[in-house]
């Protein structure tokens, strides 16, 4: 074909591709042969559709701007008080599985049996309802089955939601996303920053825990009051991060002479000056933020 074509050929191709040379006129059809007032999809009908679409979009945006999407607190697998709740369009199934004969011993009926039959019937509706009649009031069986199912779904959803509200009331709980929003609003009104639930909670730990000074701390019975991990107990404060509060000189002073009328005893007798110095140097390095 790349060699050109003779005029007797019925199909004329463009170059050597399989695209046929187009010689039909580009005229849109009129719809006079169709019954009723038919119109073209583009642009006549699509234009109207877009206008409806714009109205819908504006309405939707107004809704979205007025109502922020909910967000609760970060997932906490140890939270035993949380009442699980699926999205609203699963509630009918969620509620359904709470009834006897479709739960526990009969759970098979609840998860596979009845939903399987219902969704299966819906999926295969055209093969079950094979009559030619299309008007719903002339198909009483199909229409009433669908009607009943709809009523049942609405009922189950409403009951499930009611039950949830009731449970919240009993437990004195407010849904987390509402509580969170409320707290954010209160903080904003008080001029404070919004509570942040996303800060990484870094476990504070000892800096240079293997330092020989730790042995001094053990020998001198520091651990007796400040706990074995030096996190403090009772009135004895945590020594982790003590370097943020006290300088080395202040630490030497505290260890040597004690503090708070003997609440923190003096170690003048039990430790040498060098040991106190070593211990204080180490403790002054105990800062929460790594340098």
């Amino acid at each position: 074909m790349a060699h050109g074509h003779n005029s007797n050929e019925k199909v004329v191709y463009v170059g050597d591709s399989r695209v046929k040379k187009n010689n039909h006129p580009n005229i849109p059809p009129d719809y006079t042969s169709f019954p009723g007032k038919s119109e073209a999809f583009i642009p006549n009908f699509l234009l109207k559709e877009w206008m409806v679409g714009c109205v819908v979009l504006v309405g939707f945006l107004v809704w979205v701007i007025a109502e922020p999407a909910p967000l609760g607190y970060p997932a906490d697998p140890t939270n035993a008080a949380f009442i699980p709740m699926p999205d609203w369009y699963f509630l009918f199934l969620y509620q359904f599985l709470k009834y006897p004969y479709v739960s526990q011993d009969y759970i098979l009926l609840g998860t596979v049996g009845i939903p399987g039959v219902m969704f299966g019937a819906l999926l295969l509706a055209p093969f079950l309802d094979t009559g030619k009649e299309r008007r719903f009031y002339r198909r009483p069986i199909a229409s009433s089955l669908m009607g009943l199912t709809l009523i049942a779904c609405v009922y189950l959803t409403v009951v499930s939601w009611d039950h949830y509200q009731h449970q919240l009331e009993i437990n004195g709980q407010v849904p987390e996303h509402i509580e969170r929003e409320e707290k954010a609003r209160e903080a904003a009104e008080a001029g404070k920053e919004r509570p942040n639930y996303t800060k990484p909670t870094v476990e504070a730990s000892l800096v240079d825990a293997n330092d020989p000074a730790m042995d001094i701390a053990k020998q001198a019975q520091c651990v007796g009051c400040h706990a074995a991990d030096l996190k403090g107990q009772g009135n004895a404060p945590s020594l982790i991060g003590v370097g943020d509060r006290l300088s080395k000189e202040q630490l030497v002073e505290t260890i040597t002479n004690g503090r708070g009328n003997g609440a923190m005893p003096s170690f003048k007798e039990s430790l040498s000056t060098e040991e106190i110095d070593e211990l204080s140097t180490w403790l002054s390095k105990q800062k929460a933020t790594a340098e």
Binding site: V14, V19, N26, K37, A40, V52, L71, F90, P126, H177
Partner: protein
């Protein structure tokens, strides 16, 4: 200029029939709300598609900020919601759009059911439509976990436990969804992948089949 570029392409690829087929198809009187107001029930399918497009677009923008791992997921959603310009609106569109899609799809399904439009020769389109319905529910279920707040976590846990109670395939289904034995790091990445790649891919294929069948068969006639 535009015309000559168009003609140049059209001569080579013959693109006119492609769009002409879509553009010139007739919209009959009985589905046109301009002629019969009650025909608005025929709009629900188009609105479902419209909201689906919103979902795809807003979802694409959300993935610019969302991080699918259990440490950062919540923080990234929090950041998106409060710090990113228009983030609250885009997330709101995706969150509420999900509900709206279900509502519109539900109304569309009811319209098709009660007008008997699923009957021969349109059985296959109904079946494909129902598959779209299930895919949408799957998208709703997998998307619910992604913010990684308590609501997400416990709803997913309950959902997978229900799936687990199915005999024989239940445990396999559960370990496929969990990616282990609990709702955890693997579950979140899995749900993210299913929500963002697997199900949308299936959805687009099904929507294409749905629309091609409608174009082929035309809309069902007046009652």
């Amino acid at each position: 200029m535009f015309k000559s570029v168009y003609n140049w392409i059209d001569e080579r690829l013959d693109i006119t029939p492609l769009w002409r087929d879509v553009a010139d198809h007739e919209v009959p009187e009985h589905v046109n709300p301009a002629h019969h107001f009650s025909a608005f029930v025929y709009c629900f399918g188009g609105l479902t598609f419209f909201i689906t497009v919103i979902q795809i677009l807003s979802g694409m923008f959300l993935t610019m900020y969302y991080v699918p791992d259990i440490i950062n997921a919540y923080a990234s959603v929090d950041y998106l919601q409060h710090k990113v310009a228009f983030g609250q609106i885009v997330r709101g569109m995706h969150h509420f759009g999900a509900s709206l899609v279900i509502v519109m799809m539900f109304l569309h399904t009811l319209r098709v059911f009660f007008t008997g439009s699923y009957k021969a020769p349109r059985e296959m389109n109904w079946v494909v439509g129902m598959l779209i319905f299930f895919i949408m529910l799957g998208l709703g279920f997998t998307g619910y976990l992604l913010p990684w707040d308590n609501k997400a976590y416990y709803a997913t846990k309950v959902g997978v436990q229900i799936a687990e109670s199915v005999p024989v395939i239940g445990p396999y289904l559960a370990s496929f969804l969990y990616g282990g034995d609990i709702v955890g790091a693997q579950t979140l990445t899995r749900f993210f992948a299913i929500h963002v790649f697997f199900l949308p891919g299936a959805l687009i294929a099904m929507l294409a089949a749905h629309f091609i069948m409608i174009r082929k068969q035309g809309i069902s006639g007046p009652l």
